[in-house]
Symmetry: C2
Subunit: 249 residues, 2 copies
DNA sequence: GAGATCGTTTCCACTGGGCGGCAGTTCCGG
DNA sequence: CCGGAACTGCCGCCCAGTGGAAACGATCTC
C-alpha cells in the first residue's frame, strides 16, 4: 500500500498496535509527538492511526492536546477471561484481608516473565507502593513474584535468570543460586517474603493461588511497612489464598 | 491497497477493530467463522487480522479452536482513566455496602446512551443478576441508569427517548413523559428505583455520584430480590455514593 | 516585538501491503 | 462412509497507506 515505507513488511495492524503500546502506567497521557516517538512511527503516520483509534473510541483527546486510552478499550479488555473469574472470586477475600490487616493487598498473575497486578486494595494509611493495576512487578524481587516463581516450572526461573536479576534495592537477590534456594524455602513453607528487596521501607508476604493440578494461577500478597512483623501475617494471606483457590474452582 | 475489496474505503484499522468488536460479554469466545460473520469480513480477511492480533497478544486461541480476548488488551484497557480513579476510590465503599446489605452492588458510568458497569460485587446468595463488568445496562430501566439520566443534561434524555425505550419486563417505563416524571422524582429524592423494570424478580435502588459541579460521574446501585424493602436501603446507598464522590475529589 | 523552536495539521505522488476468492485440507455429525 | 462446515494456504491485482514537506500555531527567550 505505502508509497515509501520506512519499515518494509510492517503491517498497518502492527503500526496501530504500536500506537497503543506507547501508553503504560507511567505514561497514561501522551502528545502526538510523544506517541510517534514511542511507537517509532513518523508523526503523520501516527496521526492518521490515532485519528482512527479516536473515531472508534480507543483513544480520546484531552483539552491540552494529549491523548489517553478510551473506555472502548477498557470494555473490550474486561472480556479477557484470565483475570475475569479470578478477580470476581478474589475480591471478597481481598477485602477481608484488607480489613483484618489494614495493609496493601495485591493480586497478581504471571504474564511473560513478570507479575501483572490485576487487582489491588490500598489506603492512604497503608505504606505507599508503586504498584498499580495493570502494572508489572519483577518476579525475583517481590513477594508475589517469588510465590509465582516458586510454583512454576524450572524453565521460568531459567528464563528470568538469563534475562538478569536487576537490583532494585541493596537487599535485592541478584544471584540465581541464592534465588533458587529462596524459592525452595517458599515451596516448603507456602509463603514468600520480600524484605525491602523491591522498595526500601516496604516488606511483603505472599502466597500462591494454585490450581487443582498444582500449577500456579496467581499470587496474593500483603505489602506493609518495614517495621511490621510480616511473618505474623503469613497465616492470613495463606488462608485467603486457599479460599480464593477454592472459589475459582 | 487491496486488489479487490468488498468495502472500498474501509481501512485496515477499521477492519481490525471490527474483529475486536465481535466479542462482548455474551460472546467471550468465538470461532474464526463467527468472528468473520460478526465483523462483516470475509473469512480470509478475518483470519489474517486475527493472526496479527494473536501475535501481539490481543487475542488468544483456545484448544478447541475458538479465540478470546488476551491479557494484552486488558492491560492497555486498565489505563483508561475514566474508570481508574473511580474504581479505586469506590471499592472500599462498595465492600462496606456489600457487607451491610449482603446484596449485589454495582458501579456504573455513562457510556454513550447506556450505563457501563465498571465494578460489581455479588455473591451466590444475592439475587442473580445478568450484569457483568464491562456490560451495558439500559438507562431507562435500571436504578443506576435512571440515577445517571436524572442528573445528566436534557439532551441525553431526548436522545435516549428518540432511540426508543424498549420494554424489558411488563413493568418497564416505555413512555418518555412517564420517564421524565420519574426522573424529576429522582432529582428531588436523590435516589432512583427500578421495580422489576429490568428483570422480573429483581428490584434496585441507586444514587448518583456527582462531581463538584453537579454533573454526574457515576452511579452506585444495590440490586436485591423483589421481596426486599429496597426503600430501606436508600440511605445506605446514598451515604456510600457521597463518600465515593468525596474520595474521588 | 521578533526570532527560534517545537508541535500540529494538511497535502499528495508513489507503491507495496492488503484484499478476498478459490482450491485443498481437516473435522464432525448423521 | 459421506456431506457439510470450518479452516488453511496461496496469490494477482490495486488503492489505501506511506511519510516527507510545507504551512500554521503555540510557546519561549532575548
Amino acid at each position: 500500500m505505502a508509497g515509501r515505507t520506512k519499515n518494509p513488511g510492517q503491517s498497518v495492524s502492527r503500526r496501530l498496535l504500536a500506537v497503543l503500546d506507547s501508553f503504560d502506567v507511567a505514561h497514561p497521557a501522551l502528545t502526538l509527538t510523544e506517541i510517534a516517538r514511542r511507537s517509532g512511527l513518523p508523526v503523520s503516520t501516527a496521526r492518521r492511526l490515532i485519528t482512527e483509534l479516536r473515531e472508534w473510541g480507543g483513544l480520546e483527546r484531552l483539552d491540552d492536546g494529549r491523548y489517553r486510552i478510551g473506555m472502548r478499550l477498557w470494555t473490550i479488555g474486561t472480556l479477557a477471561p484470565q483475570q475475569r473469574g479470578l478477580r470476581a472470586a478474589a475480591l471478597p477475600y481481598m477485602h477481608d484481608l484488607y480489613q483484618a490487616t489494614q495493609e496493601n493487598i495485591q493480586l497478581t498473575v504471571l504474564d511473560g516473565t513478570s507479575a501483572l497486578c490485576i487487582e489491588k486494595i490500598s489506603s492512604a494509611r497503608a505504606v505507599p507502593t508503586l504498584t498499580q493495576i495493570g502494572g508489572r512487578l519483577p518476579l525475583h524481587a517481590t513477594g508475589v513474584g517469588k510465590a509465582i516463581l516458586a510454583f512454576s516450572g524450572p524453565e521460568l526461573l531459567a528464563e528470568v535468570a538469563a534475562a538478569g536479576l536487576p537490583r532494585m534495592t541493596p537487599n535485592t537477590i541478584t544471584r540465581p543460586g541464592v534465588l533458587a534456594a529462596a524459592l525452595a524455602e517458599v515451596r516448603a513453607t507456602g509463603v514468600a517474603y520480600s524484605f525491602e528487596e523491591m522498595t526500601l521501607g516496604a516488606v511483603s508476604v505472599a502466597a500462591p493461588i494454585l490450581r487443582l493440578d498444582g500449577s500456579v494461577r496467581a499470587a496474593l500478597g500483603i505489602v506493609a511497612h518495614s517495621r511490621a512483623a510480616v511473618d505474623r501475617l503469613a497465616p492470613a494471606v495463606r488462608t485467603a489464598a486457599l479460599g480464593i483457590a477454592r472459589s475459582v474452582g
